[in-house]
C-alpha cells in the first residue's frame, strides 16, 4: 500500500525585544548564568508581571504577515507543569483566546506552490536552561534562568504538510518572513527559532488521520527533514507489519539519526490551564491593527514578484535572492548602481553566495559593500578586466576588504586590450603548437579554444578574450 504523511509544525520563535516579556531583564543571549534575572522572572513571592508592549507589537506584525485574523480580545493563561526550567511551576502562555488565528503562508516545492494553513499565533514566555550532571543518587541538574521569561511566539500550522521537504520549505519560508519583519534573530543554533513536528501516516487518498507522534528537538532544517523522514518510515513499517502506531512524544537523536520515545500517551501532560489573574486582558482595536499593517515591510512573496516584474529576473533567481532580506537589499543596492539585473543576479547567486558560505557569513555580513560589487561589475563591463580576473578580484575583495579598483591597480590585473602587445604572444603560441594549428585548419573548431587558453595562460588571464580570438583567427 502507498502511504502519505500528514505533518503539522509548532514553531517557537524568540522575539528580539530589549527586555523580557514580563519584566525588565535583558534578553541578551549568553551571559554568565543567572545574571539576567530578577524577582519577576525568578517567580519570587509577591511580584507582578506586566506585558512588554513590544511583544504585542511583534506578535501583531507576525500575525498580519501570516494573514491571520487578530483577536479583538485576548488574555494570558497559566500552563502548569513541574519541571525546574520554569521557577514558578507554570509558564505564562495563551490558551483558549490566542492573539491570532486562521492564517496561511505559501511554499513552493518542486515547482508546485502550496498554501499551508496557520492555526494560531500566541504569545508566551521561554524557559530556562538545565545542565544534567551525573553522580551518586541519580546526579543533579544545574539551572540557569537567563532565558526564562524571554518572549516567544508559538506559531502552529494546520496539518497541511505532506512531506519532509514541504515541512522544511514551510520552516524556511516562515524564517524568511520573520527575518523580513525583523522580529527575531531566527538563529536555530542559538535556539531562537525552534520546531516540534506532529506527524502521522495514512493510506494515500484517505481522508481520516492516523495516530500521530510529536517529535521534539528539531534544531536545524536538516534535523527537521531527517527526523521526519525517519519517523515516517518508522510509522509505515509498523503499519506494514500489521501493528499500530502508539501516540507518543518522541525526541530526535541527531547523532544516531533516530527518533526515540520520551513519553507515551499514558504519561501525557495535563497542564490544567487557567487564566493568569496577574495579567489583565488585551483589547486590540482596528486602529491598532491598521497602524501595524501599514508599517509592515515588503514581504518575501511581494518582493519576489517585484524582482520578476521590474527587472525581468527568472522566478528561480528572484526566489533565491528574496530568500533573505539582507540578500535582497544587497541586490537592490547593487542594481541601483549597475542596472543590468541579470548580471548582478548571476554574480550574487554564484560567486558572491559561494564566498559568503565559504566564510560562514550571512548576507548582512558581507565584507564587500554593494558599491564595490557594482564597481567590480563596471570594471568588467568597461573591459578593464576579464570575467575570469573579475572572479579572482572578488575573492581578493572578500579576503582583504579592499576595493575592486584598488586590487586591479595594485596587482596589475588590467586587461590587455592592446593588439600590438598581444600579437607577439599569439605568434609564439601558434609557433609552439603546430599540431593544434593543423587540427584547426582541418576543421577541428575546438582547437581554437585550446589556443585561446594558451594565450590566456601566457598572460595570466589578463588578455582580452575577444581580441585574442580575433588575432588568432586572422592568422589561421
Amino acid at each position: 500500500m502507498e502511504y502519505e504523511a500528514v505533518i503539522g509544525l509548532e514553531v517557537h520563535v524568540e522575539l528580539k525585544t530589549n527586555a523580557k516579556a514580563f519584566c525588565g531583564c535583558t534578553t541578551a543571549f549568553g551571559g554568565e548564568p543567572n545574571t539576567h534575572v530578577c524577582p519577576v522572572c525568578l517567580g519570587l513571592p509577591g511580584v507582578l508581571p506586566v506585558i512588554n508592549r513590544q511583544v504585542v507589537e511583534f506578535g501583531l506584525k507576525t500575525a498580519l504577515a501570516l494573514n491571520c485574523q487578530v483577536a479583538p480580545f485576548c488574555k494570558f493563561d497559566r500552563k502548569n507543569y513541574y519541571y525546574p526550567d520554569l521557577p514558578k511551576n507554570y509558564q505564562i502562555s495563551q490558551y483558549d483566546l490566542p492573539l491570532a488565528r486562521g492564517g496561511h503562508l505559501k511554499i513552493t516545492v518542486d515547482g508546485e506552490e502550496r498554501v499551508i494553513g496557520i492555526t494560531r499565533v500566541h504569545m508566551e514566555e521561554d524557559a530556562g536552561k538545565l545542565i544534567h550532571v551525573d553522580g551518586p543518587d541519580g546526579g543533579y541538574s544545574l539551572v540557569d534562568y537567563n532565558r526564562t521569561g524571554v518572549p516567544l511566539l508559538e506559531i502552529v500550522s494546520e496539518p497541511d504538510l505532506r512531506s519532509p521537504a514541504e515541512a522544511r520549505a514551510y520552516m524556511e519560508k516562515l524564517r524568511t518572513i520573520l527575518q523580513y519583519l525583523d522580529v527575531s534573530d531566527c538563529k536555530m543554533e542559538e535556539g531562537s527559532l525552534r520546531c516540534d513536528a506532529n506527524v502521522s501516516v495514512r493510506p494515500r487518498g484517505s481522508q481520516s488521520f492516523g495516530t500521530k507522534t510529536e517529535v521534539k528537538n528539531l534544531n536545524s532544517f536538516r534535523s527537521l527533514q531527517r527526523a521526519l523522514e525517519y519517523e515516517i518510515e518508522r510509522q509505515v513499517a509498523i503499519l506494514e507489519s500489521g501493528g499500530r502506531v502508539e501516540q507518543a512524544t518522541m525526541a530526535w537523536d541527531e547523532n544516531r539519526g533516530v527518533t526515540y520515545v520520551m513519553r507515551t500517551k499514558e504519561e501525557a501532560q495535563d497542564y490544567r490551564y487557567f487564566p493568569d489573574p496577574d495579567l489583565v486582558p488585551l483589547e486590540i482595536d482596528a486602529a491598532w491593527i491598521e497602524r501595524v499593517r501599514r508599517e509592515l515591510p515588503e514581504l518575501p512573496d511581494a518582493r519576489c514578484r517585484r524582482l520578476i516584474d521590474d527587472y525581468g529576473l527568472p522566478a528561480y533567481d528572484a526566489g533565491v535572492i528574496t530568500s533573505s532580506r539582507d540578500l535582497a537589499d544587497y541586490f537592490d543596492r547593487v542594481v541601483a548602481l549597475y542596472p543590468d539585473a541579470k548580471t548582478v543576479s548571476n554574480w550574487i547567486m554564484g560567486d558572491f553566495l559561494r564566498l559568503l558560505n565559504a566564510g560562514n557569513l550571512e548576507p548582512g555580513q558581507s565584507p564587500v559593500p554593494p558599491e564595490e560589487m557594482a564597481s567590480l561589475l563596471q570594471l568588467q563591463k568597461e573591459g578593464t578586466i576579464s570575467g575570469k580576473i573579475a572572479k579572482q578580484v572578488l575573492e581578493e575583495m572578500f579576503a582583504t576588504g579592499k576595493g575592486a579598483r584598488q586590487i586591479v591597480e595594485e596587482k596589475g590585473l588590467v586587461q590587455i586590450s592592446d593588439a600590438a602587445a598581444l600579437t607577439q604572444i599569439v605568434e609564439e603560441v601558434l609557433a609552439a603548437n603546430p599540431g593544434v594549428v593543423e587540427d584547426y585548419r582541418n576543421g577541428k573548431d575546438k582547437a581554437l579554444g585550446f589556443l585561446v587558453g594558451q594565450v590566456m595562460k601566457a598572460t595570466r588571464g589578463k588578455a582580452n578574450p575577444g581580441l585574442v580570438n580575433r588575432l588568432l583567427k586572422e592568422r589561421l
Partner: protein, 94 residues
C-alpha cells in the same frame, strides 16, 4: 458524586502532593462540595453575560521595552536550597 478518589489521586500526582488515605477521602468530599456549588451556579441563566476574563476592569496595561539591571547573582541564588557554579542546583528529574 462527580469526583472519585481516582481523580483526586490524579490531581494530587499532577500537583506533586503525597496524600494519606484519610486526606484523599477528605479532599474527595471537599472537591465534591465545591462542584455541587458550581451546579447551583449553573442553574442561573447566563446567556447574556460575558465570560469574566479578569476581576479588574483593566485592559492593556503595558511596560516599555527597556532593559534594566536585575538582581546581582549572589542575591538571586541567596534563597536557593543549593547552588553550584552560579546556578541553582536541583535533584535530577530526567
Amino acid at each position: 458524586m462527580p469526583i472519585t478518589t481516582a481523580e483526586v489521586e490524579h490531581v494530587a500526582l499532577l500537583a506533586r502532593l503525597k496524600l494519606t488515605p484519610e486526606e484523599k477521602a477528605a479532599y474527595t468530599g471537599q472537591l465534591n462540595a465545591i462542584l455541587e456549588y458550581m451546579d447551583k451556579l449553573n442553574a442561573l441563566d447566563t446567556t447574556d453575560v460575558e465570560p469574566t476574563a479578569h476581576v479588574l476592569p483593566l485592559r492593556n496595561v503595558f511596560r516599555d521595552d527597556v532593559a534594566r539591571p536585575g538582581l546581582p547573582r549572589e542575591k538571586a541564588l541567596a534563597g536557593a536550597p543549593a547552588a553550584s557554579e552560579g546556578q541553582f542546583k536541583v535533584p535530577r528529574v530526567v
